[in-house]
């Protein structure tokens, strides 16, 4: 599959909180069908960037183009309806509702110009729930399920919106290594099936390396490196940005595997 068209362009995006430059002139592109890893130490600006792109924060500077459409000034719900979605680092389930209802909301309200009739939206929701493996929990209240299941639910919810681009914000946070592995597999499977482009935000190196086509590295709000996993891993600036030894060990592991 070789569609190399660019689906998302982030141009010179900046967000200043007073004197603090949380995001500082970041630019990169996402091509259709790609998984772009977005990494950086805590506080690098990854989540802020996500909030900027999806319209939650107003931009200090810069533009975002989605399929050549300037979405820089759209509201979050409008951006969601066009096909650009995100998950939350700290999950935001719709409390008081069941898993199925949560996913149903995504199915009803996600991308515009779809059949949002209740019956069909419900069907869509149930299919996605099956896809992520939450069928046994679909009638449970979100307050009653475990964190990994909450993450799966949020993923399912976003998938039910039938987006073209998903910003997965630290989906792995709080999961143990087995769960991380399962989640990686799920993401890869889903990407294949649904022809999505994903911006994969993480700071668990192993997960990102194995899954991304390209990687963008942020540090103190600026983009310091962009390239393939191999290029990024060996880049001295990147090594410097992270805590030395532990990361260097991570590089060795990846190098030995790849």
């Amino acid at each position: 599959m070789g569609e190399n068209s660019t689906i998302l362009q982030i141009k010179n995006l900046s967000k200043h909180f007073g004197a603090l430059k949380a995001v500082d002139e970041v630019s990169f592109e996402v091509k259709k069908g790609e998984i772009v890893g977005l990494i950086g130490p805590n506080g690098a600006g990854k989540t802020t960037l996500t909030n900027l792109v999806n319209g939650t924060y107003p931009k200090t500077e810069g533009k975002v183009l989605f399929k050549d459409l300037d979405i820089s000034n759209l509201k979050p719900y409008q951006i969601a309806r066009i096909g650009l979605t995100r998950t939350y680092q700290v999950v935001k389930p719709l409390t008081g509702m069941t898993v199925e209802e949560n996913v149903l909301v995504g199915s009803l309200f996600g991308r515009e110009n779809r059949d949002s009739e209740m019956k069909n939206a419900s069907k869509r929701a149930r299919e996605i729930i099956k896809l992520v493996g939450l069928e046994s929990k679909k009638d449970s209240l979100v307050s009653d399920i475990t964190l990994p299941d909450l993450k799966k639910m949020e993923f399912a919810r976003v998938l039910a919106m039938e987006p073209e681009v998903i910003f997965l914000d630290e989906v792995m946070a709080g999961l143990n290594p087995i769960e991380v592995e399962e989640a990686s597999i799920l993401v890869k499977e889903v990407r294949q099936e649904k022809d999505l482009s994903i911006v994969y935000i993480e700071h668990i190196m192993k997960a990102v390396m194995g899954i991304s086509d390209r990687i963008v590295v942020l540090h103190h709000g600026r983009k310091i490196v962009e390239g393939t996993p191999q290029e990024v891993v060996n880049d001295p600036a990147v090594v410097e940005a992270y805590l030395g030894k532990r990361y260097a060990k991570g590089i060795k592991e990846v190098n030995n595997e790849g």
């Binding site: 999806n54 939650t56 509201k75 979050p76 719900y77 969601a80 309806r81 979605t85 995100r86 939350y88 935001k92 389930p93 719709l94 409390t95 008081g96 509702m97 209802e101 149903l104 909301v105 995504g106 009803l108 309200f109 996600g110 991308r111 515009e112 949002s116 209740m118 939206a121 919810r157 919106m161």
Partner: protein
């Protein structure tokens, strides 16, 4: 599950039919009391959609009651028939809800709750002072129906009953719809709702318009029923307070909660007011506190919890 659903519908239909024939067995006084209960149930449903389902408490919602009452009074004083004035009253209230709602609903819950009190107070002021149009602080009269009092009471009883049934059914279908999910998502997590493609401002404004619709028609009926209304009476903040207590005790966020709550509160009021006349404010305050502490989910919520716990227990028994 479909069996219990059919059973529920059957029971409700029976209840409605019973209510229709109830006036034959009651004195005029009690017919009026129950009419008031129906009316409060409607007003409570109006608040229910906003507060119970969407999580935005319109403390000053009584303003729509007053608007409904006054538009009806003014319209009928110009000779317009009641059935024509009611839609006018509803439309006026809806327009107010949209005009006032757009600036305030863009923000979050805090502002909205009391902003509505201020609005209610301001509208009350205007009505009190625009004496030529509204009769000012002294109130205004409506045409009296030329029939025996007993017959009139029954008419309004049935009208309020019908309004309550229609309102409740409408709310039931609205909540089940896509729009209803939008509303509930706002209460659940407004940030997430926005990011999922829900136009929250639109949902909030429309929800308030629906609330205004229900409440204003109740006000219109009230005005015609009483034949005389005054500004302090129809814009009384106590209407909203009673409504909130009704929702609390009935259980917010449920379809039947407001109806149950209205019955409990009004019947209690009938019994207790004579005993506590000088202290009724304090008693009301204490009741509110007791409800909040002991029965925060109201009757329907607590019953719902009880049913769920029983289901869990039964489930455990079966699996062992």
């Amino acid at each position: 599950m479909p069996n219990s659903k059919k059973a529920n519908i059957f029971l409700l239909v029976i209840a409605v039919v019973l209510f229709i024939f109830l006036p034959r067995f009651l004195s005029g006084y009690w017919v009026r009391v129950i009419t008031t209960i129906f009316m409060y149930a409607v007003i409570a449903q109006g608040m229910n959609i906003m507060s119970g389902y969407m999580g935005y408490l319109p403390f000053g919602n009584a303003m729509f009651f007053g608007i409904g009452a006054y538009v009806t009074a003014i319209g009928m004083s110009k000779g317009l028939p009641f059935l024509l004035v009611v839609p006018l009253a509803a439309i006026t209230a809806i327009l107010f809800s949209i005009l006032l709602g757009l600036p305030v609903l863009r923000l979050r819950g805090h502002y909205f709750a009391i902003a509505t009190i201020g609005m209610s107070g301001a509208i009350l002021s205007v009505v009190q002072n625009a004496t030529e149009i509204t009769g000012g602080a002294m109130g205004t009269t409506l045409p009296i129906i030329d029939k025996a009092p007993g017959v009139v009471y029954n008419y309004f009883y049935l009208a309020m009953l019908a309004l309550m049934v229609i309102t409740t059914l409408s709310l039931h279908f609205i909540i089940k719809s896509k729009f209803g999910f939008g509303i509930r998502s706002i209460k659940a997590n407004e940030d997430a709702a926005n990011s999922m493609g829900i136009n929250t401002t639109y949902h909030k404004v429309i929800a308030w318009a629906i609330s205004a619709l229900f409440t204003s028609i109740a006000g219109a009926l009230y005005a015609y029923w009483m034949s005389f209304i005054g500004p302090d009476e129809v814009f009384d903040v106590m209407i909203a307070v009673n409504t909130i207590v009704i929702m609390l005790i009935g259980g917010a966020g449920s379809i039947l909660g407001p109806i149950i709550g209205a019955f409990i509160i009004e019947l209690f009021a009938e019994v207790a007011w004579s005993a506590f006349l000088e202290y009724h404010l304090a008693v009301l305050g204490i009741i509110i506190i007791i409800i909040v502490i002991f029965v925060p989910k109201g009757v329907t919520g607590t019953i719902g919890d009880f049913v769920k716990r029983r289901k869990l227990r039964v489930g455990k028994k079966v699996s062992i």
